[in-house]
Symmetry: C2
DNA sequence: TACTACATCTCGCAT
DNA sequence: ATGCGAGGTGTAGTA
C-alpha cells in the first residue's frame, strides 16, 4: 500500500469504531497543556475505538504522545507528504504527525466490556484496619472509613481506648513528606472544626522515609507499620505456575 | 497461523529486540505491587524491545495491565491453551495472559533514539520568573531556582525589596491544598535551618482553589497569578494548519 | 464543573 | 538504592 492510500483506509476504520495500530516512522508536534516536538523516528501508533490516540517509542513504559478519547482524527496526503492530524477543540489540544513510512497497518473491531478487579489498594488497607482495629493499636474503635468529609478524605477515623479522636492516613507503599502534610491537614481541620486540640494522627504504611518520620514526630503524630492486604499472596516467589484466581 | 505456532514466533521476535503487537482475546492475571484479574476480552498487547509489556483495552487512555522494561517474556502452548508469562523477579511482579484467539500479529525492529522537546513546564515557569522577577513583585531579587534541598525542591528563592527571604512555589495549573502544604514545608524548613521566623511564602500559579487560598492566607502566605510561558502560542485556536516548530 | 486524593502511578534528578 | 517532586499525569468519587 502506498502512503497516499492510507487516509481512506485509516479514516474508514476509525469511523467504524475499529482499533488501528500502525508501526511507522514519523515526527510529532503537540500543542495544548504544553508544547512538544519529537523528531523523526520509529513509533507505535494506536488509535482506539473511542478515538484515544496513544503513541509509543520502542522503549519505556509510558506513551511519548497521546490524545484523550473523543479526539477528532484525520489523515491527509498533501504535496507528497502524509499527515495525521488529531484535534480536541474542547481541550484546545492538537497533535500532528508527519508520517514518513508505514511498516505495518493493523485494524480490527475489538470487543471488550470487562472491568479489572484489583486487590491491595489503599482502600483495601483501610478496610482491613477497620475490620481488625487491633492492627492500629489495642483498644482502637473505628468510627468510619474512606469518608469524604468537609475536612477532606479521611482513610480511617476512630477513637482510642481513652476516647480521644484518632485520624489514620494509609499509604500502600513508603510514607513520605506529602503523606505527613496530608495527615496534618486532616488533624488540624478536625481540631479547628470541633474546637479541640488533642486529636491524634497516625500514619499507617509498610515503611516511612527518615525525613517524613522526623516531621511526623515533630508534629506529635505516630507511625504504625502495616502492609496492604493480600500482597503477593497468590504467587509464590519461586513458583512459576499460574495461580488460581477470580 | 495456529495458536501453537505463536510461542516460537513471538519469542524469536522478542529475543531479536523487535517490537511485537498482538490484537487478541485474552484473560489476564497480575500479581506484584497489587493483584488483579481481568476477564476474557479483546485487547491490544504490546511488547517493546526493552521487554516492557503494555496491554490496552479498546477504550481509554491508560493501559489496563503492564510490566516494566526488563521483564522476562515467554509464551507457552500447553494442554491446548496458549499462555503468555511475564516475570520480573527483581520486582517480584508477575503478569500472565491466557490467550484465546489472536486476530493480528505484527513484529518489526523499530529504530528510534529521539528525545522529546517540551516547553511550558513548571521548570520553564520558574525560569521565566527568574528572568523577569517583576512578575513575582516589584523589587524581587531571585537568588536561585530549581534548587534541590534536603527538604525538597524549591522552585524559586530570593529576597524582596526589604531584604526578606522569599520562597516561591510554582504550579502550572490550579494550585491546590497539597501545593500550599508544600510551600509551608519549605518555609518552615528554611526558617528552622536559618533560625529566623519571617520567611515569606508565595504560591505562583494561573489560579488557586478556594480552600487552598484560605489555607494559604491562614498561614500568612501569598498568591500571585502567573501563567506558564508560551502556552498555546504555536497554534491558533481556529487554525487547522500545522505550525512550524523545532 | 470543580475539587480532592489514589495510582501496580512513571519519570528524572540528586544524594 | 532511596528520597523527593513533577507530570501534557489519568482516573474515580463527591459536592
Amino acid at each position: 500500500m502506498t502512503l497516499s492510500q492510507y487516509p481512506a483506509q485509516v479514516e474508514e476504520a476509525v469511523s467504524k469504531g475499529q482499533t488501528v495500530v500502525l508501526l511507522a516512522k514519523c515526527e510529532i508536534w503537540y500543542s495544548g497543556r504544553a508544547e512538544s516536538y519529537l523528531p523523526l523516528g520509529d513509533r507505535i501508533i494506536l488509535v482506539k475505538e473511542d478515538s484515544a490516540v496513544i503513541i509509543h517509542q520502542p522503549n519505556g513504559n509510558n506513551p511519548i504522545n497521546y490524545m484523550k478519547p473523543g479526539t477528532k482524527v484525520s489523515m491527509n496526503f498533501d504535496d507528497g507528504k502524509l499527515f495525521m492530524n488529531c484535534r480536541n477543540l474542547i481541550n484546545k489540544e492538537f497533535l500532528d504527525l508527519r508520517i514518513d513510512s508505514i511498516y505495518s497497518f493493523s485494524t480490527r473491531k475489538l470487543t471488550d466490556g470487562q472491568d479489572i478487579q484489583i486487590e491491595g489498594t489503599e482502600k483495601d488497607m483501610a478496610e482491613m484496619m477497620y475490620n481488625k482495629p487491633e492492627l492500629v493499636e489495642k483498644g482502637f474503635r473505628p468510627l468510619s472509613r474512606e469518608e469524604h468529609t468537609k475536612y477532606g478524605f479521611i482513610d480511617l477515623f476512630g477513637l482510642d481506648r481513652e476516647g480521644k479522636l484518632v485520624v489514620v492516613e494509609c499509604k500502600r507503599y513508603r510514607a513520605d513528606l506529602p503523606a505527613v502534610s496530608q495527615l496534618r491537614r486532616y488533624v488540624e481541620k478536625i481540631e479547628e472544626s470541633k474546637g479541640i486540640t488533642h486529636v491524634r494522627g497516625i500514619l499507617a504504611a509498610p515503611k516511612i522515609t527518615e525525613n517524613a518520620l522526623k516531621m511526623l514526630q515533630d508534629w506529635g503524630f505516630e507511625f504504625v507499620s502495616i502492609n496492604p492486604p493480600r500482597y503477593l499472596e497468590k504467587y509464590d516467589r519461586d513458583q512459576k505456575s499460574l495461580a488460581h484466581f477470580g
